[in-house]
Amino acid sequence: MASEPIALPAFEEFGLPVRHRGLWRQAFDRLVRNRLAMVGLAIVVTMAVLSVLTATVDAVGRYEPSAQAVREAHQGPSAAHWLGTDNLGRDNWARVWEGVRISLRIGLGTQVLVAFIGIAVGAAAALGGRFLDNLIMRFVDVAYAFPDLLAIVLMRAVLSQRPWPIIGNGDPQIPGLPGTILQVILAIGLVSWVTTARLVRGQMLSLKASDFVTAARALGASTPRIVFVHMLPNTLGPVIVVLTFGIPLAIYAEAVLALIGFGVEPPTASLGTLVFAGYSYFRSNPWMISVPAATIAILMLSFTFLGDGLRDALDPRGRR
């Protein structure tokens, strides 16, 4: 057989352009057609942009999140304070966007950590031989039996009050990432990678036995090449879905930590910290708690919509 490319006359005969659409491109098209996912994405992007703008542009931010004006404490919404003020007269609008910024940072940071650990451990289990696989899977079994939130609380307590560089308490050594935020990210990330690892292991095991990997090996491709060029890209779809769903879970976990007093430390305030602070003024000033609480819900809902859309787009088997 000659190795000539197969001609595609049909389209050109009808005067239609030939479109080569890769799997990623097809997935992207499916995602764009999913209305709910696009709404989720739009809200997430808007909130991210607004949270950055409020920090950089005075006209959008209107107040310093930490600027106190005790005389204006416990106000409802007004022209001066769109979402009211808190117990120290700080502006809820400015405070809540700072909270979104911190919570988004925690949600994304956690998933970056989860992606690294999850892919590395999952790949090691799938490719590292039976002994390593057994060892990792036994550990994963125990981790599954360990209640997640309890583990996160314990891990957060372990990481707290350390004199360590970068993730210790005190002045932030990475701009914008004070030590306590990193402690929260680490605590959540070090507990949440298990699902991703198990997923990557399963994907890798089935890919290892697939025909195209055998073909690549027969053609003499090196193991690193097979792993990084042929296997890893094929595991990415489901991993992206799991990571997207992980963001709202991390935001929730952070809020839970904050609600029991283990969150980021003042003056930094995440959405969870704001809800926790508002809890004490529940009766006198409902705005202080309901604004950040509603924001958490909207943020989590949007990420869930986006995750649902990504799952439908990236996993054609699961589609109806």
Binding site: D141, V142, A145, F146, P147, D148, L149, L150, V153, L154, M155, A157, V158, S160, Q161, R162, P248, Y252, A255, V256, L259, I260, G261, F262, V275, Y279, F282, R283, P286, I289, S290, A293, A294, I296, A297, M300, L301, F303, T304, F305
Partner: protein, 305 residues
């Protein structure tokens, strides 16, 4: 079945050991000790306290002593209350169990009813309502729901109390149950609906209709029972989530259950209580997974162990 049960129950032993070990070393890695105060205790008092609770011994010796206690069911003393951990847990467990089981019943009854109605009347208003509720309920966190329920029903309408839990007193029960049970209700409704839609298209449903059974009987006896299996699959994780997720709701409504005890214990470095509550939760999860696996065999006669 007996061999299966025995094997599963024996598997609890290494699991409890592994979780106890991880918890033991994690909690000892938490900076600070149980007797740290803002004003430090006199060194003599500190030394005596540490000797009394064996905290002056090397960590591995403490670990050995702890394992020996665990093997005999002794979880040690609570440092902060100076009473046996098991006594405290026994006091606090009823509230948590009542709350958890009430929330689970609420989720199960509500979720099944909503899911079945939605599937039977597909594309009706009920169906759309259930889909919307399932989507929102599944991603609004329980404490946010609690905030708005209390603002609306306690502070505005005055129907229920803001805080507390009292079994039998609806004013102190409804809000915690709904806050905790809404997420599982949404999940159960979603799974039930999907599974019912699939079952209702089966041949045996057409047969049941063809032989003249009433629609009620077709749905309840022929469809629902077969649609239950996927619901059971998620019931295990849901029960586990209700138990461990309850600590935030317990905290919010000031319910003095086991969840609150765990949080307090971590803050006070109360080693015995941390261990006791963690193990309780872990064992509860393991037992519930086992119960779910067994109930498969009851619902689906094709499954044999």
């Amino acid at each position: 079945m007996t061999t299966y049960l025995v094997r599963r129950i024996l598997a609890f032993v290494p699991l409890v050991w592994a979780i106890a070990t991880i918890t033991f070393f994690l909690m000892h890695a938490v900076p600070g000790g149980p007797f740290d105060r803002e004003k430090p205790l006199p060194p003599q008092v500190m030394a005596n306290l540490e000797r009394k609770y064996n905290l002056d011994k090397p960590i591995l010796v403490q670990y050995g002593l702890f394992l020996r206690g665990l093997a005999t069911g002794d979880l040690g003393q609570s440092f902060s209350q100076n009473r046996p951990v098991t006594t405290i847990i026994r006091e606090r467990l009823p509230k948590s169990v009542q709350l958890g089981l009430c929330a689970f019943s609420f989720a199960l009854v509500g979720g099944l009813a909503l899911g079945v109605t939605a599937a039977v009347r597909q594309n009706s208003a009920v169906d759309y309502f259930s889909v919307v509720l399932a989507t929102i309920g599944a991603s609004v966190p329980n404490f946010v729901l609690a905030v708005f329920l209390v603002l609306l029903f306690s502070l505005q309408l005055g129907w229920f109390d803001v805080l507390g839990w009292e079994f039998g007193n609806y004013r102190k029960m409804v809000l915690p149950i709904v806050s905790l049970g809404m997420l599982p209700l949404a999940l159960i409704a979603r799974v039930t609906r999907a599974s019912m839609l699939e079952v209702l298209n089966q041949d045996y449903i057409r047969t049941a209709r063809a032989k003249g059974l009433t629609e009620f009987r077709v749905v309840m006896r022929h469809a629902v029972r077969n649609a239950l299996i996927p619901v059971l699959t998620i019931a295990g994780p849901i029960l586990a989530g209700l138990l461990t997720g309850s600590f935030i709701i317990e905290r919010f409504y000031a319910i003095g259950g086991v969840g609150t005890a765990f949080v307090d214990a971590v803050q006070l470095r109360d080693y015995g209580m941390i261990m006791g509550t963690t193990l309780l939760f872990a064992v509860a999860i393991a037992v519930m997974n086992l119960v779910v696996d067994i109930s498969y065999a009851i619902v689906d006669p094709r499954i044999r162990y």
